[in-house]
Amino acid sequence: MKEKPLSENIIKRAMTRLLVPFIQLFAFYVIAHGDIGPGGGFQGGVILGAGFILYVITFGMDEGRKRISRTASDLLSTAGVLLFAATGFACIVAGGAYLQYASLPFSSPQLASHLAIFVIEWGIGITVAGVMITLYFLIGREVQ
């Protein structure tokens, strides 16, 4: 008996719908938790990207592109790096060396470092997720 196409399999569709939000939530947790515990922008970004790739595997490339357009994924890939670089520049403007978070004008150097690392973790996360999604679509298009 021939197996049904992946996207028509009710169990997979339902499970994906159920799982993707939790995967994404977990990704956000890993990114946000990065500066005080295991995890970080890269790991969180991979989980975020993987969650979306799971969605595309189940529902197909066209449906996936409806959720996140090519422009959007390209913008995500670049926005993260720019966020990282902008944080570095902010440190120069605040009078420190490039990426010297402690020089940022917050109440204490510890708080400044904490917040700046929080921001750059998000930058890394966004870029990694964007690049993973882009790569998946590029390779998937060639396979089709």
Binding site: D74, T78, L82, A85, A97, Y98
Partner: protein
């Protein structure tokens, strides 16, 4: 004061432009070139400023994130790398100027934003390798420039370009792995990644087997990266099939950066005593570089494709750079460092001209150049100047560096090197003489329609020069071949300072 941040800004400018270019490309594809142009121009100006500053005040050190060096990453500018940085940023600037027309003819319009983005990433990688004072950071930049380099070679439409790029990818990855293993071993025994710190910690460990192994891995990995003779096999195909501007920028900068790293590791991370007495690496490299000089020239004579001939000629010229370093005295080392600058100018010019010819006529073979002097007089004049310079005719840059290397060999009582240098100059004269003879003195076959040019104009008679945007950088580089050859005192004094730094310590 913004000037104190220049060491990081010189890296950030091309890096950020590489990220901005795809965004700009979404709005208007034509603007990508402008972004690359502005960024490379800023990079060039900052490097020029940094070189002058280093001459004035000595070593500049920039602490990333404000972390103190042995722990944090440090960007260092001294007499050696400020000069190399300026060469790279200048060649990058000229190449971007050249790329506008050249790339339009060689790459699909859709891919142009991606091309400029990767190009700037490549430049970032090279500049980063040069400026960093941290061996692991060096590896990271090495990977950035290598990965970008593979993509740039493959950007050409031809199938051969993919294969050449793939070969380079395999060998380049092996080289990078070797370098990483070397770094890992050094870190294992010293616990440090900072070059200045390593230099202080290493002498007591010189006879440790781990350090010796690390040094062996460095030497082989870097020789592969800079295409020293037996490890040059990736280079000819990569240069031949890459888009013209990529061949030019790679020949002029990528292998030079490899040579710079070899000098940096051999003489400032390790020391002269180590190279001479602990392992006699200089005599091994001396032998290899002599083979490279002769073999590169002989192989170049055998080629019919212009770009391939220039590529083999690069193999020989890299031999000169290594030879000057392995003689280990100040004069020869000065010659070696000068050759990094001079060869960048000469090879840049030659590949630019080859690109102009391909753009205008589609001709790739030397035999197709018959009567080209009448059709493209300015390009051919530039080719002749650079060709004479490669041979080492006085008043050109090639003479200055070869003179210093030969003089250094005599001072070091290595007389037997002089005939080799002379022989190689003669061989160079053979293969460039052949091209120049074809350009100026061969009769153009009357009826034969030459090539299916990409942009061949209807009229056959008269001058059909390459567009101004391509001609200008070609002529500037050719003019500099004469300027730095006739008035060499500035470049010699800069290179001399770098040589003293390498031989005398940090």
């Amino acid at each position: 004061m913004i000037a104190e941040h220049f060491p990081i800004l010189v890296i950030l400018t091309p890096l950020l432009s590489a990220i901005l270019i795809p965004l700009v490309g979404m709005i208007r594809r034509q603007l990508c070139w402008h972004v690359a142009f502005v960024a490379s121009h800023i990079g060039f100006l900052i490097s020029g400023w940094l070189l002058l500053r280093v001459r004035d005040t000595g070593r500049i050190s920039y602490w990333l994130g404000g972390w103190e060096p042995p722990w944090g990453i440090e960007y260092v500018l001294d007499d050696l790398n400020a000069l190399v940085l300026l060469v790279i940023s200048f060649i990058a600037f000229m190449s971007v100027l050249y790329a506008r027309k050249s790339i339009e003819a060689e790459i699909e319009p859709v891919r142009i934003p991606a091309f400029y983005s990767i190009f700037m990433l490549f430049v970032t990688g090279l500049m980063g390798i040069v400026i960093t004072g941290d061996v692991f950071n060096l590896y990271v930049f090495l990977e950035i420039s290598s990965l970008a380099g593979y993509a740039l070679i493959a950007a050409n439409r031809k199938k051969e370009a993919l294969l050449a790029s793939y070969n380079y990818l395999i060998l380049g990855t092996i080289a990078a792995t070797f370098i990483l293993i070397g770094i890992g071993y050094l870190y294992m025994v010293t616990g440090s990644l900072n070059m200045a710190d390593l230099r202080e910690r290493l002498p007591s460990l010189y006879h440790s087997k781990v350090v010796l192994t690390a040094f062996a891995f460095f030497t082989v990995g870097l020789s592969l990266k800079l295409a020293l003779f037996p490890l040059h096999v990736w280079l000819p195909n990569a240069y031949t099939y890459a888009p013209s501007v990529v061949s030019a920028v790679m020949a002029a900068t990528a292998t030079k950066v490899g040579a710079y790293v070899l000098l940096r590791i051999m003489f400032t991370v390790f020391s002269v005593e180590f190279d001479l007495h602990v392992v006699s690496i200089t005599s091994i490299l001396l032998f290899l570089s002599l083979t490279a000089i002769v073999a590169g020239s002989v192989l170049a004579i055998a080629q019919t494709n212009i770009k391939r001939m220039l590529a083999y000629s690069s193999v020989g010229q890299i031999g000169y750079i290594v030879l000057g370093a392995t003689i280990v005295n100040e004069t020869a080392m000065t010659g070696s460092i000068l050759h990094i600058l001079n060869h960048a100018l000469m090879k840049g010019t030659l590949f630019f001209v080859a690109g102009c010819v391909i753009y205008k006529t589609g001709i790739k073979d030397i035999s197709g150049l018959k009567g080209m002097a009448r059709r493209m007089p300015f390009s051919m004049a530039a080719f002749t100047i650079a060709g004479l310079s490669m041979v080492g005719v006085p008043l050109t840059v090639g003479f200055v560096s070869k003179w210093h290397i030969a003089l250094g060999a005599i001072q070091a009582d290595m007389w037997y090197l002089v005939p080799v240098i002379l022989l190689s100059s003669l061989l160079t004269a053979v293969y460039f003489g052949r091209v120049i003879e074809t350009i100026y003195f061969s009769k153009e076959p009357g009826a034969k329609k030459s090539g299916s040019g990409l942009n061949e104009p209807r009229g056959r008679a008269g001058v059909q020069e390459a567009p101004f945007g391509m001609l200008l950088p070609t002529l500037i580089l050719a003019a500099l071949c004469i300027v730095f050859g006739a008035a060499a005192s500035t470049s010699v004094s800069y290179a001399g300072a770098a040589a003293r730094l390498l031989l005398g310590g940090m």
